[in-house]
């Protein structure tokens, strides 16, 4: 959303009057605004990083190779540049030059020099067979070509006509041709919203034989290239496609390696999936083992690239996440938690049935909270990595939440609670009411946010309100809001599940409020025993109130013994202490 908005603004600043902005490739969207500002005029190709780098190169080339450049149309010069930039050595370049000259002279004699659309003219096939397009040779080719070449080539091909248009304004040559070109390109651009379609759209009006005319998405773009490639088309069109494929491969891969080539193969066979999926998966299975250890060291982008092996497509939302997820093989029940820094290694990830055993082990273990927390975190990690989101996940989070509550670890508890909310929303079953009650108590006791409380209360269903734990939480809320300490502590004593643990955190505050209240309203004294009983100092029938005395004294109460021998709080004195 935002990106398109900003580019919209930029386009309005440009005078080139391109109404629609081609969609930005996700990887490049960050680069767009800055480089757009830098590059002259309408840089709407959406590969500005490359364009800005290669623009000077292009100019240089134009100067170098265009001996009689001045007299030739600009687009022809570009065409020549493009052809020459593909050449790798002097022999090729010479051959290319001669071919260009041939074509040029032909065009001049035909009178089509100015009318031919050089931007869409197929590149001259080089005499050597370096760039023939067969599926199998692609691997070799990719390794032989240096990285920069495809980029440069692509720049020249992808360099949008808008950029030429801007420079056109500078070059008054062949204006009518330019206008014609811009018109065509405008139409072409309007038709295709996708930036990566740009080049293709340029070709489409003039290359009806081109099979790629109706692509609408990047994914399909890739497919189109690969399909052309697969058809073993030896024309220069497929040459371009191959380059593009390599370009993309270079852009996203980290290094040129055998795995990369294999991945490219698979990637280009992507849309043959239906026919060859079985063989592909066999290949990928074999490859997976080989490159797994490499992958564990590569960052996530490599993992994404690795997905190509599985025959999945380029766009994020269409990626085959199921094939991408790790399937664990580890059989150990106990495993320490280690934060992942790279793609996980399947041999360290435990599959689901092992995780179940691990969970029951943790539940019955006698060790301390830190150990259990650690184990549970690693179980959670294994579940997340394998994208297991079912009742086992719910159970794990619930167990962890309960343990965290009992240990007083609120941070961990909140984490688990938010995950649980998400899991419940997605329909997994679990102790929904229990955790709704915890949620209510958390919101009312810990945050002052009335809106959250309102929304939590509003989201309770009728059944939820009948549940004991939830009713308890609502009663606690009523007690807190009216300051009714007696009820509060009664509820505190009988809290179901772990509600009392959550109330624990509010107990101190409530006690203080209660004492203030009592000292304001009781005269002349209040028996300590009563206070102890009411404020929950007496655990389960125990009659001693020493704890209460200590607490009272700590808060400045003045205790005295009355006639009957009972300890009393002198309330008049307390008032002056507390109420100003």
């Amino acid at each position: 959303m935002q990106g398109s908005l900003t580019t919209g603004i930029f386009s309005s600043e440009n005078k080139t009057q391109i109404p629609t902005i081609p969609r930005i490739a996700p990887g490049f969207s960050m680069v767009i605004p800055k480089s757009e500002k830098k590059t002259v005029g309408a840089d709407l190709a959406k590969k500005p990083a490359y364009v800005s780098v290669s623009v000077p190169k292009n100019d240089v080339k134009a100067v170098q190779h265009g001996s009689d450049a001045r007299s030739l149309p600009f687009s022809l010069r570009n065409y020549a540049t493009r052809n020459l930039s593909r050449c790798k050595d002097e022999a090729q370049r010479a051959a290319c030059q001669s071919m260009i000259q041939q074509i040029t002279s032909k065009a001049i004699s035909n009178g089509t020099l100015l009318t031919k659309n050089w931007d869409t003219e197929p590149l001259i096939p080089l005499p050597e067979n370096l760039l023939t397009m067969t599926e199998t040779s692609s691997a070799n080719n990719s390794s032989s070509l240096p990285n920069s070449t495809p980029r440069r080539r692509l720049k020249s091909r992808w360099e949008p006509v808008p950029e030429e248009k801007v420079t056109e304004k500078v070059e008054p040559l062949a204006k009518p041709l330019m206008n014609g070109n811009t018109h065509n390109n405008l139409k072409a651009q309007n038709r295709m919203g996708d930036s990566w379609n740009l080049g293709k759209s340029l070709q489409s009006p003039h290359a009806p034989s081109n099979k790629i005319t109706h692509r609408l998405s990047k994914k399909q773009k890739m497919g189109s290239y690969s399909s052309v490639v697969q058809n073993g088309d030896n024309s220069s069109d497929s040459d371009k496609e191959k380059d593009l494929t390599k370009y993309y491969a270079n852009a996203s891969a980290l290094a040129n390696s055998p795995e990369e080539k294999k991945r490219r193969e698979h990637r280009s066979k992507r849309f043959e999936k239906s026919k060859d999926s079985s063989s592909k998966s066999r290949n990928s299975a074999v490859n997976k083992g080989a490159v797994a250890h490499i992958h564990t060291r590569r960052p996530i982008s490599a993992l994404v690239t690795g997905s190509y092996k599985d025959g999945s497509s380029l766009a994020v939302e269409d990626m085959d996440w199921d094939a991408l997820t790790v399937k664990g093989t580890c059989q150990e029940i106990e495993k320490r938690y280690l934060r992942l820094t790279s793609a996980p290694d399947p041999s360290t990830v435990r599959p689901e049935h092992v995780l179940e055993k691990a969970l029951s082990m943790v539940e019955t273990s006698q060790k301390n909270y830190l150990y259990k927390c650690d184990q549970l975190k690693s179980i959670r990690q294994d579940l997340t990595v394998q994208r297991i989101q079912n009742e086992l996940t719910v159970k794990v989070y619930e167990t962890h939440a309960r343990l965290a509550l009992q240990a007083g670890d609120l941070a961990e508890f909140n984490q688990c609670q938010s995950q649980l909310k998400r899991l419940y929303r997605e329909g997994n079953n679990g102790c929904y009411f229990e955790f709704s009650a915890y949620n209510l108590l958390c919101v009312m006791l810990h945050s002052n946010n009335k809106r959250d409380l309102l929304s939590s209360m509003a989201s309770l269903s009728k059944e939820a309100k009948q549940d004991g734990a939830v009713k308890h939480a609502l009663a606690v809320h009523a007690a807190v809001s009216s300051g009714n300490y007696v009820i509060f502590f009664k509820l505190y004593k009988q809290g179901p599940n772990l509600n009392s643990c959550l109330m624990d955190l509010y107990v101190e505050r409530m006690r203080f409020e209660a004492i203030k209240c009592m000292s304001r309203s009781y005269r002349p004294t209040v028996p300590v025993g009563y206070v102890a009983q009411v404020l929950g100092f007496l655990p389960n029938g125990d009659d001693r109130s020493e704890e209460c005395e200590i607490w009272l004294k700590a808060h400045g109460a003045v205790l005295s013994v009355d006639n009957g021998g009972e300890l009393q709080i002198d309330t008049k004195v307390m008032i002056s202490l507390w109420t100003m």
Binding site: M1, K450, R451, L453, L454, S455, M457, A458, A478, S481, S482, G483, N484, Y485, V486, I487, K516, C517, M518, R520, S521, Y522, R523, P524, T525, V526, P527, Y530, V534
Partner: protein
């Protein structure tokens, strides 16, 4: 300026519709949020000095509507700050209807934060300046003003409630008058969903203490008639019995606690003698008027 108003309004309405569509097709409704941030930028452009200032309040109101709909009410704070602290422009310069809308929303925010006095001020202002013809607007204002007033101790007349179809408050008002706790609880239960959605449920919960106070007052009056000399002493058992009669079972401790709370919060003047379990009211003015101070 009107053009800008139209644009702002349309953006909001379109975004709402777009979100509805998105929700129906199962996608994430974020258009309203985008509209909100966009209008924020517009507001920023308008808030600078100059003749354009006047339009700023309209955009503010649109922003409020969006934020209230989205629930991200905390975002309103920044807008309010810039309006309130701007010395350069006079609040009176804005068109009346914008002011009314602005006061209405800020009043609502104060209700959420439980600053009842300020909320009362703002909502009353809105009420007074609101166009008497637009009944629905008046109703909206009253919906929030009534709980605020109730907290302060001002009860609306039944005719007012009937006129604006705010009958959910009718029972609550009656219970306050009578000291009928049971009725209050029933009324809150019945209209719980509505009140929760409006966000006034919490405010009304706090009225419980006022109902207790009323009850005690009634007992006091009855006792005064029966035995003037001892009227200022109310036995706890009497209270317990009364509540039982109302259908609410509470044991002695709980009632004691409530009494203590009432005294603490100045709803009742007096003290509680624990040993004899008697509530002793002060001889003069045991039930001070709330006098505009919220509970």
């Amino acid at each position: 300026m009107e053009a800008m108003h139209m644009v702002a309004l349309e953006i909001r309405l379109l975004a709402e519709k777009a979100d509805r569509e998105l929700v129906m097709s199962g996608k994430n409704p974020d258009k309203l949020q985008a509209a909100g941030s966009f209008l924020m930028k517009v507001f920023g452009a308008l808030a600078v000095k100059g003749p354009k200032r006047v339009g700023a309040l309209y955009v503010t109101c649109q922003l409020f509507k969006i934020y209230f709909r989205l629930g991200t009410v905390n975002l309103c704070r920044s807008v309010i700050r810039s309006i309130e602290t701007a010395r350069n422009f006079d609040f009176e310069d804005f068109p009346v209807k914008d002011k009314v809308t602005y006061m209405y929303y800020t009043g609502r925010l104060e209700v959420f934060n439980e600053n009842f006095l300020v909320a009362d001020q703002k909502l009353t202002y809105a009420l007074m300046h609101c166009n008497p013809q637009s009944e629905s607007n008046l109703r909206k204002i009253l919906k929030f003003l009534i709980p605020v007033k109730l907290s302060i101790g001002v009860l609306p007349r039944r005719t007012l409630l009937e006129k604006y179809n705010l009958l959910e408050y009718a029972d609550i008002v009656t219970s306050l008058r009578r000291g009928d706790l049971r009725l209050l609880k029933q009324a809150l239960d019945r209209h719980e969903d509505q009140l929760l959605k409006c966000g006034v449920y919490l405010v009304l919960e706090k009225l419980e203490l006022q109902v207790y106070r009323r009850l005690v007052k009634k007992i006091h009056i009855i006792q005064r008639e029966k035995e003037p000399s001892k009227a200022h002493q109310i036995k706890l058992e009497v209270l317990v019995k009364t509540l039982q009669w109302l259908g609410i079972t509470m044991d002695v401790d709980e009632v004691e606690c409530i009494m203590a709370c009432l005294i603490y919060k100045n709803l009742i003047k007096g003290y509680f003698a624990h040993k004899s379990k008697v509530l002793v009211l002060s001889k003069q003015d045991p039930f001070p008027k709330l006098n505009g101070k919220p509970v």
